[in-house]
C-alpha cells in the first residue's frame, strides 16, 4: 500500500511525519481564524493524519513575548511528551542581554530543537539580536526556521545571513515567501548555499506544485510544515501525500530531512518510531 493509496482512503499515513512549522494557542488577530484552540484537539488532528510530532513556537510570539512563548512550549511538550517539541523564540527588539539570557536558558532544555525567527512581523532578519541567535545556532548545529512572506523579508536577507555563516542550517519558511516568484528567488540562494532548506507551509497561493519544487532543489532540501494552528495542516499535508512523487521522496520531506537537520545538534533531539 503506497502513501498515496492511504491518502485517497483518508487513512493516517504510517511513515514517520514531523510537522516542522507550527504555532500552538488560539490566534484571531487581523482576521486569522481557527475553529479550535485546544492543544488536545491538535493532537487528535495529528493522529488523524498520522503526524508523529510537531515543532512549535506558540502564537504569543507574534506580540514579541519571548519568555511566555518559550514557557508555553515547555508546558505543551511536558503535556504531550514525544509529540510536541519547540523552537526557541527570540524577539529582536529585546535588549541583547535579555536575548542572550533567553537563549542560554532554553537551549539547555531538551524540548527545544532549534530556533524560530519571525522577521517581517518583527522587522529585519538582519537585526543584531537575530545575528546573535544565528551565530549561536551555527555554532551549536541546530536548525533555524525563519519566516519569509513576500519580500518581508525576502531572499536577499536570507542570502546575507547565510553568506557569513556557511554552516548555518537555515530552514526558509513558506517556500520562500508564498509565491512562485519568491520561490524562484529562494531557489537561487539555495543553489549557492547548500545548508539552506525550504519549508513548505502556506503553499495555497504558490503555483509551483511539490513536484516542481523537487525538480528545482531536490527531495532532500524540502521539509514539511503546516503553520498549524491557524493554517489547516491538511492542505500542505495533501501537497505531499497526494503528490505523484515516489514514497521515498515523500518520506524524506515528511520527516527524514528534518531529522537530518538535527544530526550533530547540541540542542534537543526528536525520537520517532522507525527512525
Amino acid at each position: 500500500m503506497s502513501i498515496r493509496d492511504d491518502a485517497f482512503a483518508g487513512r493516517p499515513i504510517t511513515v514517520p511525519i514531523i510537522d516542522a512549522h507550527t504555532h500552538l494557542l488560539g490566534y484571531y488577530l487581523n482576521g486569522w481564524y481557527t475553529a479550535f484552540q485546544e492543544t488536545a484537539t491538535v493532537i487528535t488532528l495529528m493522529d488523524h493524519l498520522g503526524i508523529d510530532a510537531i515543532v512549535t513556537a506558540p502564537h504569543t510570539l507574534v506580540s514579541g513575548d519571548a519568555e511566555a512563548t518559550n514557557e508555553a512550549t515547555i508546558a505543551a511538550a511536558a503535556e504531550y511528551p514525544g509529540r510536541i517539541y519547540g523552537y526557541i523564540f527570540v524577539y529582536p527588539h529585546d535588549d541583547l542581554a535579555i536575548v542572550r539570557k533567553i537563549i542560554a536558558r532554553y537551549a539547555a532544555h531538551p524540548s527545544f530543537v532549534g530556533f524560530k525567527l519571525l522577521p517581517g512581523y518583527h522587522g529585519s532578519l538582519l537585526a543584531p539580536a537575530y545575528a546573535y541567535a544565528l551565530d549561536f545556532a551555527a555554532e551549536h548545529g541546530c536548525p533555524v526556521l525563519t519566516h519569509l512572506w513576500g519580500s518581508s523579508p525576502g531572499a536577499a536577507e536570507v542570502e546575507a545571513i547565510v553568506q557569513t555563516r556557511p554552516a548555518l542550517k537555515l530552514l526558509a519558511a513558506h517556500q520562500g515567501g508564498g509565491s512562485a516568484d519568491c520561490t524562484d528567488a529562494l531557489v537561487a540562494v539555495m543553489r549557492e548555499h547548500p545548508h539552506v532548506t525550504m519549508e513548505l507551509c502556506g503553499s495555497l497561493y504558490n503555483h509551483y506544485a511539490l513536484e516542481n519544487l523537487v525538480e528545482m532543489v531536490g527531495d532532500e532540501r524540502i521539509v514539511y510544515g503546516s503553520d498549524l494552528i491557524n493554517l489547516d495542516p491538511r492542505y500542505d499535508f495533501g501537497q505531499v501525500v497526494f503528490s505523484t512523487l515516489p514514497d521515498e521522496s515523500k518520506s524524506k520531506i515528511l520527516a527524514g530531512n528534518f531529522l537530518r537537520l538535527l544530526e550533530g545538534s547540541a540542542l534537543g533531539s526528536i525520537a520517532i518510531h522507525g527512525t
Binding site: F8, F36, H207, E211, D232
Partner: protein
C-alpha cells in the same frame, strides 16, 4: 468515490500553469482520481463566443468527463454578447453546466443595476454562476441574491482569513456555495458543515494553475461523515445540475 472538480480551465491564461490542453487535463484528472471537471476555456476571456464554442466542442468529445462552463459578460445585445432572449435560448439549447463571470477583471459591479438583464437570464435557467473570490465583491451578494433568489452563486477558492465574510453568507443565504479547495483556516470545513450543513460546499482545485494535491488533502482528510464528504465532492454539484431549468 465520485469527485467533481468545479474549478478548472483550459487554454493559456497565466505564465505559470501546469498545462493548457484538454488531453493533459484528462490525464491529470486520472492521476488524481477525479471523476469529472467543470471547465471554462481561457480563449473566452478574449472572445466569449469563440472560447465558449471551443469549450463546448472539447466537452462534447470528453465522454462526459468535462462539463463546459461559459464565460459571459453583461452587455447583452452589443458587439460580443447576443440579446437576452437569444442568449436564453442558446443556453437552454447548448446546456453549459455553469457560467463564469469576471466582474472585477472586466470592470463592472455585479448587481441588478449593471447586470440585471444577464442575471435575469441566468436566474431563469438556475444556471450556477462561478465567481473568483473577492472579499469586496461579497458585500454585494446579500442584495444580489435577494434580487435573484433562484440564482446559485459559487465563490471559487476563497483563501485564508475570510471567515467573517463567509460565515454570514453561508448562514443567511441558501443559494451561496463555496469551493473549499483552498479553505485553509484550520477546521473551517468541519465548522461550516457542523453549523450550516454540507450542502454549501463544493470541491475545486484551481487547475491548471494549481494541482489538486492540497485541495484533496482538505477534502479527503476532513473529519466528516461519508455522506457529507460525498455531498462536497460531487453530490452538491449534481444537485445544482438537477435543479436547472
Amino acid at each position: 468515490m465520485r469527485i467533481t472538480d468545479i474549478n478548472c480551465s483550459l487554454g493559456k491564461r497565466a505564465p505559470r500553469q501546469h498545462f493548457s490542453e484538454a488531453g493533459v487535463l484528462l490525464h491529470t484528472l486520472d492521476r488524481y482520481r477525479i471523476t469529472q471537471a467543470v471547465v471554462y476555456h481561457a480563449d473566452a476571456l478574449w472572445n466569449a463566443g469563440c472560447g465558449n464554442a471551443r469549450m463546448r466542442e472539447i466537452a462534447a468529445a470528453s465522454g462526459g468527463r468535462l462539463q463546459a462552463c461559459y464565460v459571459l459578460r453583461p452587455n447583452l445585445g452589443g458587439g460580443e454578447m447576443p440579446a437576452a432572449e437569444v442568449l436564453h435560448d442558446r443556453l437552454l439549447d447548448e446546456r453549459p453546466a455553469a457560467v463564469r463571470l469576471f466582474p472585477q477583471q472586466d470592470g463592472y459591479p455585479l448587481d441588478r443595476f449593471f447586470c440585471g438583464e444577464l442575471l435575469e437570464v441566468l436566474a431563469a435557467l438556475r444556471l450556477p454562476v462561478l465567481l473568483e473570490y473577492d472579499g469586496g465583491m461579497c458585500a454585494g451578494l446579500p442584495a444580489l441574491t435577494t434580487d435573484f433568489p433562484q440564482l446559485p452563486v459559487v465563490l471559487l477558492r476563497p483563501p485564508i482569513r475570510q471567515v467573517h465574510i463567509l460565515m454570514p453568507l453561508l448562514a443567511k443565504i441558501e443559494t451561496v456555495l463555496v469551493d473549499c479547495g483552498a479553505l485553509t483556516d484550520n477546521g473551517l470545513i468541519e465548522e461550516i458543515v457542523r453549523r450550516h450543513g454540507s450542502r454549501h460546499l463544493l470541491f475545486g482545485s484551481g487547475m491548471p494553475h494549481f494541482l489538486p494535491a492540497g485541495s484533496l488533502g482538505l477534502a479527503l482528510y476532513a473529519r466528516l461523515t461519508a455522506e457529507d464528504r460525498a455531498n462536497i465532492l460531487a453530490g452538491n454539484w449534481q444537485r445544482l445540475q438537477e435543479g436547472r431549468a
